[in-house]
Symmetry: C2
Subunit: 328 residues, 2 copies
C-alpha cells in the first residue's frame, strides 16, 4: 500500500498554487498518495492545470485558514475546520502517515503536539532545521525554536531523536553531535550546557563536544543541539546577515564602471544562492510526535513542498518513530 | 592635565608592533598620554621606529604575557607581572584612567572585575559590541559574552549602562533599546526575556520592545540587550556566516570566464569589507566597572587600537562612570 501524506494546501506565501504543484510533482516522482487539505474549490482549480493519477491525489475539504498573525493556541482551539487542524486529524485518525504545512509555525507546532501527541517518554518535541555548510552537506540544528526554556534532559532527547533522523532520513552514517556553546572547552557555557555536556558524554551517541556558533557553517558537526531560544537566535542572525550582505555586495557592484561586470555576475550569484537553498531539503521536521509533521518555510515553492513530501516518505518507510522509541 | 590611558602592548595577534603604532598615532591625533605596558625592550625597539613626543608616551615594564590558552582566573592570580595585571593596576592606583587590551578576553574581563572593581550597585559588568548595520550606523549589543547565566535585573542594568554609553560615546541622542527575542510580540520569549520586558517597559529608557535577531543588521535598534550566552551565539553565527559567504562568492566568481570580472571586483569587495569594519569603532567596552576597560579584537591593527584609545578618551571626558551611577 502506498504511503499517504496529508499536505496543507492553504499554508505559506504561495498557497495554494505552489503547494498543489509540488504535490503533483511528488506524487509522480515518489509514487506516494497525497491528500491536499484546504478549500476544495481553490485546490480543485489548481489541480485542473495538471495531469495526474486521480487515485494518487485527493482533496480533503477544510473551509478555514489560520493566518500567521493569529495566536496559535486560540486558532487551533477555535478553527476546527482549518487546513492545519483537519490535516493533523487525518494523521491522528490513521488516514495519513505524515503532515506537511508551510503555514503558521506556531499553529502547526501547537496543533501537532495537541492533536497527534508525543511519543511516550519524550518530554518536548523539537524542531530540526537544516543549515547549509561550506562542505556541501547540511548541519541539522535541533531545537530551532519550539522550546524556549529547556531542561538538560530535553536537549539530551533532542540529540537522540536527531541522531536517528539524520542517520536514516539524511543518510549520514554515525552522525556527529555537537553541543552549541560559547567555547569548545568542556567547562565552558551556562548551567544548561554544562549539564547537557555530561549527559551527552556518557551516552552512546557520537558526541564530539561543544561547538561554537561560527563553526556551524563550516560543517563542524552533523547535528547541533541547543535550546530553542538560542537556535532561533542563531538562525535569524544568519538570515538577517545573509540578506544584508548580499544587498551590500550587490549595491557595491552595480555602481558606475562595474555595472557591466555585475551584469555578467548575476548568474553567478544565483549559483551562490542555490548552494544555500533550503528548499533542497524540504522543511523542518518536528520530531518527538507519534507521526512526522514537517514545517516547510513560509516562502516555499513547489520544489520545497515536493522535497518535504519526500522527507515524509523516507521517514515513514524507515519507521523513524519506532527507532526513536528504541533510542530513548 | 592630559588624560592618561594604559595600553597592553603585548595583547593580540599583532603585538607589539601594531599596538605601538596605534598608540603613537593616537597620542599625536588625540593629544592624550599613553602608557604602553609590557616587555620594555620589545616596546622600546618598536617605539624607536617613530617620532613622537616623549612626554606623551611612556613604558611600564611587565615581564609576563598571558596567552589566550591559559585559564583566565589562574593566569590573573599567578602572573602578577603580566601586561594585563600591571595595566589594570595602573588604573586601580589612579595612574591611568582607562585600559585597552587586545589580549585574552577572559583574562581581561576577569582581571578587570577583580582589580578595578564594580561600580556600587552594578550586579554584573557587561561587554558591549558594535555590530555594523545596513543603515551605516552601528548597533550596540550588550552583553556580548561576559555573563552566561543572567537574572532579569542584570539585563536591565545592561540597558541602563548602554544607554549612557551610546549617547555620550557613540553620540546617539536618546538611543533606542531593543530586547533580543524570538518574536516581537510582548508575550514572546523565555522566562528571562518576559521579566526583562516588564522592567524595561516601566523604565525611563527609550525601550522599543522586542527585536528579532534578523533585524539587528537592518538597524532596528541602537542598543540590543541580551544574555551573554545569546549575545555570543549571535556574534559568532554572524562571524562564521560572513566568512563562509565571502568564501563561496569568491570561489564562484573566480571560475573560468568570470575571472577577469572578478579581478575588477576585488577592489569592490574591499569596500564591502570596510563597511563591516569593526576597527572603525575601536573595541568592546566592558561597562560597569569604576573605570573603562576596552577589549580590542585579537586581530586589531593600529587603526583599531587608535580608535579604542579614542573611545577611552571620550569616555573619560564625559565622566561616563558618574553618569552610569546616576542612571542606576
Amino acid at each position: 500500500m502506498a504511503i499517504k501524506i496529508a499536505v496543507d494546501a492553504m499554508g505559506g506565501d504561495n498557497a495554494p498554487y505552489e503547494i498543489v504543484k509540488g504535490a503533483v510533482e511528488a506524487a509522480e516522482e515518489f509514487g506516494c498518495e497525497i491528500i491536499l487539505v484546504g478549500q476544495q474549490e481553490a485546490i480543485k482549480s489548481e489541480l485542473d492545470k495538471y495531469k495526474f493519477n486521480p487515485g494518487q491525489i485527493t482533496i480533503e475539504n477544510a473551509t478555514e485558514v489560520i493566518s500567521t498573525e493569529e495566536s496559535p493556541t486560540i486558532a487551533i482551539r477555535k478553527k476546527k475546520d482549518s487546513s492545519i487542524v483537519v490535516g493533523l486529524n487525518l494523521v491522528k485518525d490513521g488516514k495519513a502517515s505524515a503532515f506537511v504545512s508551510a503555514g503558521s509555525t506556531g499553529a502547526v507546532l501547537t496543533g501537532a503536539t495537541f492533536i497527534i501527541g508525543r511519543i511516550k517518554g519524550i518530554e518536548r518535541p523539537a524542531l530540526g532545521t537544516c543549515i547549509p555548510t561550506i562542505k556541501g552537506k547540511f548541519a541539522f540544528m535541533i531545537d530551532s525554536g519550539a522550546n524556549v526554556d529547556c531542561k538538560p534532559n530535553y536537549l539530551f532527547q533532542f540529540a537522540k531523536m536527531a541522531s536517528v533522523y539524520v542517520k536514516y532520513v539524511m543518510n549520514v552514517e554515525n552522525p556527529t553531535v555537537g553541543l552549541l556553546n560559547i567555547g569548545v572547552e568542556k567547562e565552558k557555557g551556562n548551567a544548561l550546557t554544562k549539564e547537557v555536556y555530561g549527559l551527552l558524554e556518557q551516552s552512546n551517541l557520537n558526541f564530539t563536544g561543544n561547538i561554537e556558533a561560527r563553526d556551524i557553517t563550516y560543517g563542524a558537526a552533523d547535528i547541533v543541539v541547543c535550546d530553542g531560544f538560542d537556535g532561533n537566535i542563531a538562525l535569524k542572525v544568519a538570515e538577517g546577515l545573509a540578506g544584508v550582505m548580499l544587498k551590500v555586495i550587490k549595491s557595491e557592484i552595480t555602481q558606475g564602471f562595474y555595472k557591466l561586470a555585475a551584469f555578467v555576475l548575476i548568474k553567478k550569484f544565483r549559483n551562490v544562492k542555490k548552494r544555500f537553498d533550503s528548499e533542497e531539503v524540504g522543511g523542518a521536521p518536528f520530531l518527538g510526535l507519534k507521526a512526522l509533521v514537517v514545517k516547510a518555510h513560509g516562502s516555499s515553492k513547489a520544489k520545497g513542498i515536493k522535497n518535504a513530501i519526500k522527507q515524509c516518505k523516507i521517514f515513514v518507510e524507515n519507521d523513524i518513530v519506532k527507532k526513536i522509541e528504541e533510542q530513548l
